[in-house]
Amino acid sequence: MLHECGIGFPLAPFDKGGIEAPLGMTVTNAMLIQIILVIFSLFVLAKVSLRFRERKISLKEFIFWIVFWLAVMLVVILPETTTLAANLVGVGRGSDLAVYLSVVVLFYLVFRIFVKLDNIDAAITKVVRKEALEEVEKDKSSFASSSVSFAAEASKDRKALEDRSAYTKASEDREKNRK
């Protein structure tokens, strides 16, 4: 591969065509990166399987990563697959397809991040509000108006409803994730 790129990297054994390897194969340096990547992918696959056995990742995640790294190995061993895939969907080059897909995926991920940040903001405000109201509840005595009561019936009822539905939703989510 290095030779094909026109980089005159002096790797003596490879200059002569390749290294003698077991099984009568000749290892060219074009294959070096492929071998490295395949070994790496197999290593990652093993790690992923281990994590799944340890129940640290869900079945969905496990399948996703298996498919992903198998696809990586496929593209590494047979680079022509990218061109094939590209032509299948009407795109000229494999690398073009990769860029288009990446852009779409990135937009989606960024959107998810925005949503997450928004949720975090809302959660923080909830905590800050709760603390603020509780603190005032404690200092009731220092107020000008004497008969102050923060027994917010309306707010409490609404909160109780909110909390209950939030709690059931959270436990539902947990159930779903466990499957």
Partner: protein
């Protein structure tokens, strides 16, 4: 002077320069004042305590929308029948609280919204009026279906019913549009009331407006 069940909620952030004066004026009209100190680093809270005014403190700054929501929760808990939104920077006139509350007391509306443009007492820089407020009004109309003469006036009065129905999720300045959204959603009766705002500062510039649009778009997509 003002009905006992009316509570004035004042969101404040680092307003030590103005809050003392504002509270002093306001107290002549009603003792029911709730200041929400939105994570101020100055003496806002202390000044409130000095005047014996209830001050609810956010430990960190969360935004005007969040402060108003906190104030509303507290006011409802105090048995408020009407909640008034009042600014802490001295740009609003306490005398006008009565006319803001009147339509609600008469049962004509669930919520009254102050408008700087129903009469021409308020002097606004023309750049603000045509380049910021006008697009804002269009924007509000697109998002909420409500066309107001004033897009963004913080002077409001809500009946207890409106206060219970409206729940602000927007922490920042986008709450103004969110209130309109919820007015539309809950079919609340609203009425605009002419008020005078005395200007010292420019307020939300164009950048602030853009931030508001971004916040609202995100909340829509969620």
């Amino acid at each position: 002077m003002i009905d006992n069940k009316v509570w004035v909620v004042i969101p404040a952030w680092n307003e030590e320069k103005n809050i003392g004066r504002v509270l002093g004026e306001l107290r002549k009209f009603t003792p029911n004042i709730l200041v929400v100190d939105d994570g101020s680093r100055d003496r806002t809270k202390e000044i409130c305590h000095e005047q014996g005014i209830i001050c609810i403190s956010h430990r960190i700054n969360r935004g005007q929308g969040a402060a108003l929501e906190t104030g509303k929760e507290a006011a409802l808990g105090l048995g408020a029948e009407i909640i008034v939104h009042f600014d802490s920077d001295g740009q609003m006139k306490p005398e006008e609280i009565e006319r803001m509350v009147a339509p609600i007391l008469r049962g004509e509306a669930d919520i009254t919204l102050g408008s700087r443009f129903l009469d021409d007492r308020t002097k606004i820089p023309w750049t603000k009026r045509y380049f910021i407020l006008f697009p804002a009004k269009i924007f509000n109309w697109i998002f909420t279906g409500i066309w107001l003469t004033d897009a963004h006036c913080g002077f409001r009065a809500l009946s207890r019913k409106a206060a219970l129905a409206i729940s602000l999720k927007q922490d920042g300045m986008a709450h103004a549009t969110e209130i309109l959204e919820q007015i539309y959603e809950h079919r609340l009766r609203y009425k605009e009331v002419p008020v005078e705002i005395v200007y010292h500062r420019y307020g939300q510039g164009f950048r602030g407006g853009l931030r508001i649009v971004k916040n609202l778009l995100i909340s829509r997509i969620k």
